[in-house]
C-alpha cells in the first residue's frame, strides 16, 4: 500500500460526528462490562479494516469510523448480544420514528409505530407520471 501519510490530520479532534464518539464509547463499555475481551475486539476490527479498506472518495478518518462501526456490529452479533436482524429492524424503526415525528419535536422510538398522518398527503403532492399500480390484462373473453 502506498500513498501519503495524512500528517495534516494530526490535530483533528478524535470524533467528527457524534455517532463516531458513541460507537467508540459502546465498544469500550461492552468490553469493560466483560462482554468481550479486548483481544477479540482488536481481531474483529483488524479483520474489518483488512477486508474493507479505505475507498475512493473517502478520507482516512471516514474510512476508520466506517470500519469501526461495522466491527462493532459484528462483535455484538458474534457474541450474541443482539442479532443482525434485530439491529436492522431497530434501525428501520428509528428511521420511521423520525418520519413520524413532526419537525422540531424530540424523536422517540415509540413514534415508529404510529401512522404518519401527513405521509399520504405528502405523496399526493408529488406529481405522479406513472401509474401507481397496474393489474395486468387477463385477455378478452
Amino acid at each position: 500500500m502506498s500513498g501519503t501519510v495524512p500528517v495534516g490530520l494530526g490535530d483533528a479532534p478524535p470524533f467528527r460526528e457524534p455517532w463516531q464518539a458513541k460507537a467508540f464509547a459502546l465498544a469500550v463499555l461492552l468490553h469493560r462490562e466483560g462482554h468481550f475481551t479486548w483481544d477479540a475486539w482488536v481481531r474483529t476490527l483488524a479483520e474489518e479494516i483488512a477486508a474493507f479498506p479505505q475507498r475512493a472518495g473517502e478520507d482516512a478518518e471516514l474510512a476508520y469510523h466506517r470500519q469501526f462501526l461495522a466491527a462493532l456490529e459484528t462483535i455484538v452479533a458474534n457474541t450474541g448480544l443482539a442479532k443482525p436482524e434485530a439491529m436492522q429492524a431497530r434501525k428501520m424503526a428509528w428511521r420511521q420514528a423520525y418520519l413520524n415525528t413532526p419537525h422540531g419535536h424530540a424523536v422517540d422510538l415509540a413514534a415508529a409505530g404510529e401512522p404518519h398522518v401527513d405521509e399520504a398527503r405528502d405523496h399526493d403532492l408529488e406529481p405522479q407520471r406513472a401509474p401507481i399500480a397496474i393489474s395486468p390484462a387477463r385477455g378478452a373473453g
Partner: protein, 203 residues
C-alpha cells in the same frame, strides 16, 4: 395541517448507532449514562499531557526511568495513568544510536491512558504500511530527519501490548523543572514520528 410535518431521518451510521444503543440499553447490557461519561473522558481528560508527565519524570529521575524501562505498566501506574489499552505498556528509549517509532500495523492499538486517542494518520493505511517498509521516508514526511548512523526500530503495538517512546531529553534544558520539561514533550515524540527539539539560543 400544513408544511413538512416530519423530521428528516439522520445518516445511515447514525441510525445504526441509535439502533445498537437502544437495543443494548433495553437489554440492560449497558448504562446509558456511562456512554457520555466515556466520551467526555476521552475527549477532554485523557491525552498526551499524561504521557508527557511520564517522560518528564523519567528525564529528571533516573530511578523512575529505570523502573519505567523495566516495567512500563507499573511505572506509568505510579503516576495514576491506567485503564483500557494501558494494561501492558512497553517503553522504548531513544538514544544517540537508536530511534524508536510505533505503529499498529493491523488497526489502531495505541496507549490511551498516556496518549489519549490516536491521530487520524496513525489509523490510516499509508502510515500502517509505509512506516514498516520505509520508516525514514515516513519520518521525513513528518519533518523528522534522522542521521544515517541512527538505527530506526519500528514497534508494532497490538492487543496484548502497546509501546510508548521515551524521547531524548533535548539540549538546553539543564536544570529545568519537571513541569517545564513536560510542556516540551509532544504526542508525536512519544509515537516516535518527531523528536523533542533542542532549546535555547545554543541550538
Amino acid at each position: 395541517m400544513s408544511g413538512h410535518s416530519h423530521t428528516a431521518p439522520p445518516s445511515d451510521p447514525e441510525l445504526r448507532i441509535k439502533a445498537l444503543e437502544s437495543l443494548l440499553v433495553e437489554k440492560k447490557l449497558i448504562n446509558p449514562d456511562a456512554i457520555d461519561a466515556i466520551i467526555e473522558t476521552y475527549e477532554t481528560k485523557i491525552g498526551p499531557r499524561n504521557g508527557a508527565r511520564v517522560v518528564a519524570r523519567a528525564w529528571v529521575d533516573p530511578e523512575y526511568k529505570a523502573r519505567l524501562l523495566a516495567d512500563g505498566t507499573k511505572a506509568i501506574a505510579e503516576l495514576g495513568f491506567t485503564g483500557v489499552q494501558g494494561e501492558d505498556m512497553v517503553v522504548v528509549e531513544n538514544t544517540d544510536e537508536v530511534h524508536n517509532v510505533v505503529v499498529c500495523t493491523l488497526c489502531s492499538c495505541y496507549p490511551w491512558p498516556t496518549l489519549g486517542l490516536p491521530p487520524v494518520w496513525y489509523k490510516a493505511a499509508p502510515y500502517r504500511a509505509r512506516v514498516v517498509s520505509d520508516p525514514r521516508g515516513v519520518l521525513l514526511e513528518f519533518g523528522t530527519r534522522l542521521s544515517d548512523d541512527v538505527e530506526v526500530r519500528v514497534w508494532d503495538s497490538n492487543a496484548e501490548l502497546r509501546y510508548l517512546v521515551l524521547p531524548q531529553r533535548p539540549e538546553g534544558t539543564e536544570g529545568w523543572s519537571e513541569d517545564r520539561l513536560a510542556a516540551l514533550v509532544s504526542r508525536d515524540s512519544m509515537i516516535g514520528t518527531a523528536v523533542v527539539p533542542a532549546q535555547g539560543a545554543a541550538s
